[in-house]
C-alpha cells in the first residue's frame, strides 16, 4: 500500500513539475516595467483572424493588428487564450483587457461591452456546393438547411429569414465539409472565413451578392472607457499611417468595402503573401511523411496537454476521494441534519451535468465575487462532481462490512470512532477500490471538459491540431491513443493494489509485485 501511495505521489509530483517547467519556459525577455495589454482570442480554427500557424506560432491579421496597436500604445501584448463562447464573459472576469476575435459590433453586444471604432468592415458570404444552382437572395433558401457559427451576425441574419433551417457549428471547417458532403445546402459566414476555408476547396463555390454588412470592433469591459480611448487613438494612427492597409493586403483582405470605409485607394498595397502561405500549408496533397513530421512538431504541445490532463485528473480525484469519503461517513453515521445535507449534495450533483457545473463554477461564481483560475475551477468542478459518486461507493463499502465487525470492536472496548477507523474503514477501502479505479478512469476522460474553461488539455490540443491540419480523423485517433496510454498504468496500479490488499486469501510469503499477480491458494 505504501508503494502504491508512493507511486501516486510520484505522478502528482511529475505532473506538477511539468506544469511549472512549462510556465517558466515562457519568454520573459521584455522589460517588466512596460505596461501590458492582455488580449484574448480563440485561436482554434480561426484563420485568418488569430490562429496557430506553421511551427505552432500565433499569427493572423488580427494578431498583427493588435501587435501593431500595442506597439503604438507602448504596451507589451500578452495573449490569453479562451474559448469562443467564453470570450465576452472573460472580460467581466478581468481575465484580460480586450478581445479581438472577429466580434461584430451589434446593439445587443454594445449593451454588454464597450467597442473600439471598427477596424474591419465586411459582409456575409454564401457558399454552396460546386454546381448547385446559384442563389441571389436569402428567401430562396426557404426549406433548406444552412450552416453557420453560433453567436454571429450570419446566424442572426439566417434566423430572421423565415423557413430556413439554421444549423450552428462550433468549427467552420466542419460546416464547409458538410456542404461538400451534402449534409447541408450552404454556409453563410463572414467573408474572411469563407475566403480562407471555402475558397481553396474545389468542391465549393461562392454565390449571391454580399449579404449585409459586418463591422468588427475590439471589445472591452463595460467599465474600461479610458482604455477604449487609448485603443481608438492607436487604431486611428495605424490606419492613417497605412500600416493597416499593408496588413490587410498581405492577408488578402483589402477589399473595395474596406477602401471605402477607410477612405483609401482600392488597390492592395502589398502582395497577399500570408494568404498564399496559408493555402500552401493546408494543401491537402501533403505526403504521409510531411504529415507525420507535422505531428512530431506538435510533440511539445501534446506533452504539455497530457501532463495537464493528468494533473487535473489526479488532483480532481484526490479531492473527490476526500470529499466523497466525508460525505459517505456523514450519510451513514452522521446525525440527522448532516445526513440530509450529504444526501442533498449527492442527489443534486449527480442529477446535473458536469459541464454545466464547470461552467457555473468558472463563469457563474465571479458574479458573486468568487474568481477562480481555470485550473482551480477545472479541478474543483471535476472533484466536487466525482465526490458525489465516490460518496456512494464508500457508502456501499461501509454498509457491506458485516455488523459483527463493529460489535467485535466495541466488545474489545473500542469507541465507535475507533472501530470505524481501525476495523470498518480499512476493510471497506479494499472493497471500494475497483469501483473507485473505474471512476478515476472515467474522470480522466471527463477531464476533457476542462477544455471548456480555457485549459489546453488533451482535448484542447485536439481542437488546436485538428483545426490546423484539417486532419480530424488522424488527430482524433492520436489523442484517443494518448488518453488510453495514460489510463493504462492506473488500471494496472489498481489491480496490483487490489491484490496487495486481498490479504484474507493469501499467505504472508506470497506478496504480489507490481507486474506479478499473487498466486491464489488452491480453493478447498
Amino acid at each position: 500500500m505504501n508503494s502504491a501511495r508512493g507511486f501516486l505521489c510520484f505522478l502528482v509530483a511529475l505532473a506538477t513539475i511539468g506544469r511549472f517547467a512549462a510556465a517558466e519556459s515562457a519568454p520573459s525577455g521584455t522589460p517588466t516595467e512596460m505596461p501590458v495589454l492582455r488580449w484574448a482570442a480563440d485561436p482554434d480554427s480561426n484563420a485568418p483572424y488569430t490562429f496557430y500557424g506553421a511551427n505552432n506560432q500565433l499569427t493572423g491579421f488580427e494578431y498583427e493588428i493588435i501587435e501593431a496597436i500595442a506597439r503604438q500604445m507602448g504596451r507589451r501584448p500578452e495573449f490569453v487564450q479562451n474559448d469562443w463562447d467564453g470570450l465576452i464573459p472573460g472580460l467581466a472576469r478581468d481575465l484580460y483587457d480586450v478581445v479581438i476575435c472577429g466580434i461584430e459590433i451589434t446593439p445587443d453586444k454594445a449593451g454588454e461591452v464597450l467597442f473600439s471604432r471598427p477596424y474591419y468592415v465586411t459582409f456575409e458570404q454564401l457558399t454552396i456546393a460546386k454546381g448547385a444552382p446559384a442563389v441571389t437572395s436569402l428567401e430562396e433558401l426557404k426549406g433548406k438547411s444552412i450552416g453557420t457559427l453560433g453567436q454571429t451576425a450570419a446566424m442572426a441574419m439566417l434566423e430572421a429569414t423565415p423557413g430556413i433551417e439554421v444549423r450552428t457549428y462550433a468549427e467552420e471547417v466542419n460546416a464547409y465539409n458538410d456542404v461538400a458532403n451534402g449534409r447541408i445546402s450552404g454556409v453563410l459566414l463572414d467573408f474572411p472565413i469563407a475566403k480562407y476555408y471555402a475558397g481553396p476547396n474545389p468542391n465549393l463555390e461562392f454565390t449571391g451578392p454580399p449579404f449585409g454588412q459586418v463591422t468588427y470592433g475590439i471589445a472591452l469591459a463595460k467599465n474600461n472607457a479610458p482604455l477604449q480611448k487609448e485603443i481608438n487613438t492607436a487604431l486611428e494612427a495605424i490606419i492613417a499611417s497605412g500600416e493597416m492597409r499593408d496588413i490587410l493586403s498581405r492577408w488578402g483582405l483589402w477589399t473595395p468595402t474596406m477602401a471605402k470605409a477607410f477612405n483609401q485607394p482600392e488597390a492592395a498595397s502589398a502582395p497577399d503573401t500570408e494568404y498564399a502561405a496559408f493555402i500552401a500549408s493546408t494543401a491537402s496533397g501533403a505526403s504521409l511523411i510531411t504529415r507525420l513530421a507535422r505531428y512530431v512538431g506538435y510533440w511539445p504541445l501534446l506533452t504539455q496537454a497530457a501532463l495537464l490532463t493528468l494533473e487535473v485528473s489526479i488532483l480532481g480525484m484526490a479531492l473527490a476521494v476526500s470529499v466523497g469519503f466525508s460525505l459517505a461517513i456523514m450519510r451513514v453515521y452522521g446525525p440527522f441534519p448532516l445526513r440530509i445535507l450529504a444526501t442533498l449534495y449527492i442527489e443534486i450533483i449527480r442529477g446535473t451535468p458536469l459541464l454545466i457545473q464547470l461552467l457555473i463554477i468558472f463563469y457563474g461564481l465571479p458574479n458573486i465575487g468568487i474568481k477562480l483560475s481555470p485550473f482551480v475551477a477545472g479541478v474543483l468542478g471535476l472533484g466536487l462532481n466525482y465526490a458525489a459518486y465516490e460518496a456512494e461507493n464508500y457508502r456501499a463499502g461501509l454498509l457491506a462490512i458485516p455488523k459483527g465487525q463493529m460489535e467485535a470492536a466495541r466488545a474489545l472496548g473500542m469507541t465507535h470512532i475507533q472501530g470505524l477507523r481501525h476495523v470498518v474503514i480499512p476493510q471497506s477501502f479494499r472493497l471500494v477500490l475497483p469501483p473507485v479505479t473505474n471512476d478515476f478512469i472515467s474522470l480522466l476522460k471527463d477531464s476533457s471538459l476542462v477544455s471548456m474553461v480555457t485549459l489546453v488539455d488533451l482535448t484542447g490540443a485536439y481542437n488546436r491540431i485538428a483545426t490546423q491540419t484539417f486532419d480530424y480523423f488522424g488527430t482524433g485517433l492520436l489523442i484517443a491513443a494518448i488518453y488510453l496510454l495514460i489510463g493504462l498504468p492506473f488500471v494496472r496500479l489498481a489491480r496490483w493494489t487490489e491484490e496487495r490488499l486481498a490479504v484474507d486469501t493469501r499467505k504472508p510469503t506470497n506478496k504480489p509485485g507490481f507486474f506479478r499477480p499473487a498466486r491464489r491458494p488452491p480453493s478447498s
Binding site: A411, D504, P521
Partner: protein, 257 residues
C-alpha cells in the same frame, strides 16, 4: 489491585424488548470470581440477548448490572437512562472479554495484529508491550506458530481460539462466550473447549451460552437453565441432570440424555 468482595458479576432485574416482544423478563444472576457458568436453554429463550446485555452490546431496558466494581443502574422500564451510561458502559466493556459464535476476527489483519489491536487502541500500550503480551496469549491458546497468518486461512477451531486470545488481550475480569462452538465442525469443538478449561483452571470468570451439554456438565461450576425470557433453574451441574426440579428443564434435557 483491590480485592473484590462478593460476586464479580451481578445482574438484577434485566428486562429487554425488541419491537414490543419481551425477550428478557427481569433476569437476575450473580457470579462469583473464578466461576465457570453455562447458560443453556431452547432457541429463542433469550440467553444470547442476556449475554449481550451484560456488556451493553444491547442496552437493557431496565435493571442493574455490575461487573468488577463498575455498576450501571438503568432503573425501571420507563425511567430515563442515567446520563453517564455511555461512559460507564465503555469502561465496563474494557473489563469484559467477549467471544462470538461467528468469531468476528478482523479479516484484514494477521492473527497477531488481531490480538495486538485493542491493547494499542484502547489501553494505549506501546507496540512492543502489545506484541509481547499478544505472543504470550497466543501461546496460551496454542497458536504461536500461526501468528502471521490471516484469519481466512485458518480452520474454524483455530479462528475461535484466536478470537479468545484477542478477547484476553485486554486483560478482562470476565469472559463471555456466545455459543462459541456452534459454528464449528464437531472434530474442532474440543480444542476450543480445552482452552476454556485451561482458563478456568487459571481462575478466569467465564459465562458460556452453549449447546454443548456435555461441556456444560463436565466443566461448569453450575448451570443456568433459561426459557421464555426467564431463568427457570440454577443448579449444580450434576444436580440439574440427575434431578431437575422444574418440568421444563426436564423436558429440555431429556433430548440429551
Amino acid at each position: 489491585m483491590e480485592e473484590i468482595t462478593g460476586p464479580i458479576l451481578e445482574a438484577q432485574g434485566i428486562r429487554k424488548s425488541f419491537d414490543e416482544t419481551e425477550i428478557l423478563k427481569g433476569i437476575s444472576l450473580a457470579v462469583e470470581n473464578g466461576d465457570l457458568v453455562s447458560i443453556i436453554g431452547p432457541s429463542g429463550c433469550g440467553k444470547s440477548t442476556f449475554l449481550r446485555c451484560l456488556n451493553f452490546l444491547e442496552i437493557p431496558d431496565a435493571g442493574r448490572i455490575s461487573i468488577a466494581g463498575i455498576s450501571i443502574d438503568l432503573g425501571e422500564l420507563d425511567s430515563p437512562f442515567p446520563p453517564d451510561m455511555k461512559v460507564k458502559a465503555h469502561a465496563l466493556r474494557q473489563q469484559v472479554g467477549m467471544v462470538f459464535q461467528g468469531f468476528n476476527l478482523f479479516p484484514h489483519k494477521t492473527i497477531l495484529e488481531n490480538v495486538m489491536l485493542a491493547p494499542m487502541v484502547v489501553v494505549g500500550s506501546s507496540k512492543d508491550e502489545a506484541r509481547s503480551f499478544a505472543l504470550s496469549t497466543l501461546e496460551k491458546v496454542g497458536l504461536s506458530a500461526l501468528k502471521e497468518r490471516y484469519p481466512a486461512t485458518l480452520s474454524g477451531g483455530q479462528q475461535q481460539r484466536a478470537a479468545i486470545a484477542r478477547a484476553l488481550a485486554i486483560k478482562p475480569k470476565v469472559m463471555l462466550y456466545d455459543e462459541p462452538t456452534s459454528a464449528l465442525d464437531p472434530e474442532l469443538v474440543d480444542e476450543v473447549l480445552k482452552v476454556m478449561r485451561d482458563l478456568d483452571a487459571e481462575g478466569m470468570t467465564q459465562i458460556v451460552v452453549t449447546h454443548e451439554i456435555r461441556f456444560a456438565r463436565d466443566a461448569s461450576d453450575y448451570i443456568v437453565f433459561m426459557e421464555g425470557g426467564n431463568i427457570i433453574e440454577i443448579s449444580d451441574e450434576d444436580e440439574i441432570f440427575e434431578n431437575p426440579k422444574d418440568e421444563r428443564t426436564k423436558r429440555f434435557l431429556r433430548r440429551f440424555l
